[in-house]
């Protein structure tokens, strides 16, 4: 069973739950940026939770189905259309043989997850089908989709139920102003007290450079680092450190001007001081923020981060139990 890619969309790539164990060699986890929506789309179809799906950023693809298949979309609000006819989000529907699936412009959120009954069939690389484009690894030839590509699907493991819906309570409510919880630390002692406080008191605007590697923020006051004699090997800029590992979710501020939150295709290390890390429970939300939307960073303790994590996991359990 194959699907023809007529138009690839803005940045559409094959993703699953990602790969582990290679970050020390520079290979990041990859995988869907909004894991909750990726998993929800698979669970709706009765797929394995981590089956490979299409992550569609801001503008969806146009696909022609050679055979009939059920699909489900979760995440960003981009109305799916089969031969032009609107279909529901967060619900299983069938695309008949020969039909074309397309999407409207995004209304809310940034990334839609399109799951196919059975899941996408590409070879696993280092334990995952996820695309890591910087390293030309995984997905379809290690890159986002292009017009003319063909996607193969695996045979469905169980019959999908047309009309099955994600319960209303489990559908994320997108906003235009997000609060991201951050555990301050790593190199934030390099900031002046005033600067560190102000970082958490101002609104930041997501820049147009917001992709799977990282989200760049603008609009807040430049950060000031404490003056110092540069340590050997660090570099002369006050924001420089001796090149180190970058945690996923960490926030770096090159030259003090524009904070960058690293996401699942992160560069694994480099020479910029990190001043805190977005908690794991909020990373899905980062992937749903559109350029030009606003963000406020909220400092939290490890205990608060762990409580949020427990709540997130509970939410995933509810998803798995959905009727």
């Amino acid at each position: 069973m194959t699907i023809d890619v007529i138009k690839p969309g803005l940045a559409t790539s094959i993703q699953d739950t990602g790969r582990q164990g290679s970050y020390h060699l520079g290979i990041p986890p990859s995988g869907g940026m909004d894991q909750r929506s990726l998993r929800a789309a698979n669970l709706l179809l009765g797929n394995p939770e981590g089956a490979a799906v299409l992550e569609c950023a801001l503008m969806g693809p146009e696909l022609r189905f050679k055979e009939s298949r059920c699909v489900a979309t979760c995440g960003a609000e981009m109305t799916p259309r089969v031969n032009g006819e609107a279909q529901p989000l967060n619900e299983v529907f069938r695309v008949p043989a020969g039909a074309t699936l397309s999407f409207d412009f995004v209304k809310a959120g940034a990334r839609l997850y399109l799951a196919f009954e059975g899941g996408i069939d590409v070879p696993e690389k280092l334990g995952s089908r996820s695309t890591y484009a910087l390293g030309s690894l995984g997905g379809l030839d290690g890159r986002p989709l292009q017009a003319g590509d063909q996607l193969n699907l695996l045979p469905p493991s169980a019959a999908a139920r047309e009309g099955r819906q994600l319960p209303e309570a489990l559908i994320p409510q997108f906003s235009k102003h997000y609060m991201l919880r951050v555990v301050p630390g790593i190199y934030d002692h390099r900031l002046t007290d005033e600067s560190r406080e102000r970082f958490y008191e101002e609104d930041w605007t997501v820049a147009s450079e917001a992709d799977r590697i990282g989200y760049r923020m603008k609009g807040g006051s430049p950060l000031s680092f404490i003056e110092r004699e540069p340590p050997f090997g660090a570099g002369d800029d006050p924001s420089n450190i001796v090149d180190a590992c970058y945690p996923i979710g960490s926030i770096q501020v090159p030259s003090g001007s524009e904070p960058i939150i690293l996401h699942r295709d992160a560069v694994s290390g480099g020479g910029y001081a990190m001043i805190g890390t977005v908690i794991s429970a909020d990373m899905d939300w980062v992937g749903q923020i559109q350029p030009h939307q606003k963000v406020r960073f909220v400092p939290v303790s490890l205990e608060e981060a762990l409580a949020a994590r427990a709540k997130y996991r509970k939410g995933m359990e509810v998803l798995r139990q959905m009727p």
């Binding site: 970050y23 020390h24 520079g26 390293g135 630390g185 790593i186």
Partner: protein, 298 residues
Amino acid sequence: MSADKTATARYSLAADEFMFVELSEEMTLEAFFRSISITQRLKAMSVPGIIEICPANASYQVRYDPDQLSAASLQEVLESLDREVSAQQVRNIETRVIEVPVLYNDPWTHETLMRFRDRHQDPSGTDLDYAARINGYDSVEAFIEAHSGSPWFVSMVGFVAGLPFMYQMVPRERQIQVPKYLRPRTDTPKQTVGYGGCFSCIYSVRGAGGYQMFGVTPMPIYDPFDQQPHIDDSMIFFRPGDIVKHRPIDRDEYDRLLADAEAGHYEPRVVPFTFDLDDFNRDPDGYASRVKEVLHDH
């Protein structure tokens, strides 16, 4: 000495899944050695809940599952390993010496650096001219001799897949230092030998970059499509702790080695080696010669 060194480790929580450990603010061979010694031991312990262990130049990072292992317990494990490494005076590591052939001053990085000249500190020359001059060398040839004469530690692998950061095994006064480009390039040829701060690197993939460009190697170092027999299932050739010796080659040899690589039968020169920090500190130049001998006696 040991107690002091342990006291300098700084443990920082990077939210709920990562712990970041800074061993030294400045780059030193001692700090790198401590990072590699601790992380090698940690890996061998196979602690349940630890997902990824990433050594870096003068720090390291652990990704863990806080539902299996608490931050406090993890930190205890790391602190005790640091004490052990310091108390036992762990001074050697099992590693390998790898020869990396380099075509310095090659046409491809030259074309690229000319294309991005407006982003460079010194638009009038090449990256090699600039690096040689600011490091006090009379000529590019003398600079290349310094870059290729003494061996390097792979002190970190990352940024992008498989890119080695290398720190030269020479006393600090002889360390080469160069700034990065004023503004990063949007292009760097694959397998470019670059330099930024006190680190040399080899770009594993074509792409953006800010390091000065000195040459290219024909040796494949990243293998996402599984075409290179000398690279294992990890797809990555280098490991932190590897010792690298650059060997200048000419265009003919480059072409020949590249043809080998493209045909999937590149054979790197790799020799197992025990590195001893005290031996090295006693006589860095003598040690560099020994590394060279090990490569060519084998």
